[in-house]
Symmetry: C2
């Protein structure tokens, strides 16, 4: 069994469905790659493709997608609400079953070099593939956006690969490696959104809460209910079981029950094994103890 790698590129096109479908076809046509999701946002004028497979196949698909996006997107005329540096804005590689973060960093570096060489585009490495601590966070790299990047090329934004000049139609690109992101919500048995907001504030990392957790409080309608909406940025640091426990105990202290969890999109198998380890105190539970784990390829 070879290791699986996920790739979640964000491309600066969310208004021409036929173009985005073309990108999806380019990815899905690579043998060994499965396209798991494509989501477009017209306001952001941006699409996110999620695909996975063995490392070499995912690497090929990422490069094929970049080439296709560079043929179709012209940054000189791109408008959208979401910050971006280029036609392909960010390309994260994510380790899944059987692969490691180190492997994904190596993939990111190979893909970054290949993009710089093939397309004459400045490349920035971020997250676990960052070359300096200042480049770990994507928003910091992306702050000047496509329009303001050239003026910083000689100072804060010297590229990690490629030329020190923004490509007129492609812009620049950010490539990196990060853990899988899990979007997980917990619904509370109350319509009082203030309770959800208070819990969210208490548990989010930025306010000194749980590490690698982003959280917001939302109000759901029909029926009216408060929801704690979370991103787990590294489930090996703070797991689904850990946020559930924390939200449940804080809700309970406010006299409110938790109603249900909701997983948005996909989660890696390892995150589910963590839940079983926590609930059944199965410390040593390994992926090889899951029958289907032997057939992941």
């Amino acid at each position: 069994m070879a290791g699986l790698v996920e790739c979640v590129p964000n491309v600066s096109e969310g208004r021409r469905p036929e173009v985005v479908r073309g990108f999806a076809h380019v990815v899905a046509a690579v043998p060994g790659v499965r396209l798991l999701d494509t989501t477009s946002d017209p306001d952001h004028n941006r699409s996110v493709l999620t695909f996975a497979g063995e490392a070499a196949a995912v690497e090929s698909a990422a490069l094929a997608l970049v080439a296709a996006a560079y043929r179709e997107i012209d940054m000189r005329s791109h408008r959208g609400e979401h910050p971006r540096l280029g036609a392909v804005d960010v390309v994260p590689f994510v380790p899944l079953s059987g692969s490691t973060m180190e492997e994904c960093v190596a993939i990111a570096r190979r893909v970054g070099k290949a993009i710089a060489a093939a397309h004459d585009v400045p490349v920035y490495y971020y997250a676990k593939a960052a070359t300096t601590p200042e480049r770990a966070r994507l928003p910091d790299i992306r702050k000047p956006q496509y329009e303001g990047l050239q003026s910083l090329m000689a100072t804060t934004h010297a590229p990690d690969e490629g030329p020190a000049s923004v490509h007129p139609t492609h812009g620049a690109i950010v490539v990196g490696a990060r853990p899988p992101l899990i979007a997980f919500n917990i619904e509370l048995d109350t319509a009082d959104v203030k309770i959800a907001k208070r819990i969210a504030k208490a548990i989010r990392e930025s306010a000194g809460g749980l590490p690698a957790v982003q959280a917001m409080g939302f109000e759901l309608t029909s029926p009216p209910r408060a929801q704690v909406s979370m991103n787990l940025l590294d489930h090996s640091v703070t797991s689904l079981a850990a946020v559930w426990r924390e939200v449940e105990s804080r809700a309970s202290a406010a006299g409110v029950q938790v109603l249900r969890g909701e997983l948005i999109g996909l989660a890696p198998l390892e995150a589910m094994l963590e839940v079983a380890r926590a609930s059944l105190r199965l410390d040593g539970l390994a992926r090889t103890q899951i029958i289907e784990g032997h057939f992941i390829e």
Copy 2:
């Protein structure tokens, strides 16, 4: 993605390791089949092979194993503590991700017919593949054993397929379909085995406890601890989470903490998803929400 099927044949040879290795090679040589485990017991003079793959591959491997076992084992000289009817005693087919019990019943029937035709051996269908309620339970079918079967062939033990006479060297065979069996233990924070035995008795189905659960209380040494040892015969009826809850609450009523769970051997992915559904109240959690679930083939 095609569905996965598991097969767990029990063969009447546990004393000649080189012969059992030969059986393992026969199975592993079938393309698309993965041999997950081979366990031999010399006292029982019996081995259990566990393998899985797509239905057609697993069917071929089961037939190849039966042919190999019939070449090597002579029931006229077989001795062992474990009850058995033939050189290949029982062949259960088990639905995993993407396959159904109905498909496994159909496989069992196809394999049963093929064995009867190729080897002139009487075949009995059991568990979900049984043709009458009296044949649902394996011990009932196996009771007369190889030595006593011929005398019942005209009455209670008319075969479902094949001749009404026990094959002199192969004996008879039981083929069927059943849910995956999960062997799961819970260790208690006490050395008092009486508490484990009492809990086991209360939760086992045979004493009116949890359906599809077998349970025993054991005493572990170094350190001395009581353990509730369980087989979950159908985790869709009584799940890992349900037995954990039940044992924990009964232990707690006896003033004892549960220390940890232990999974013996393998469990299907679906059983882990059930744990996540129960712990995080993720009612709708589907296999397709597990990234790796898209790569099971």
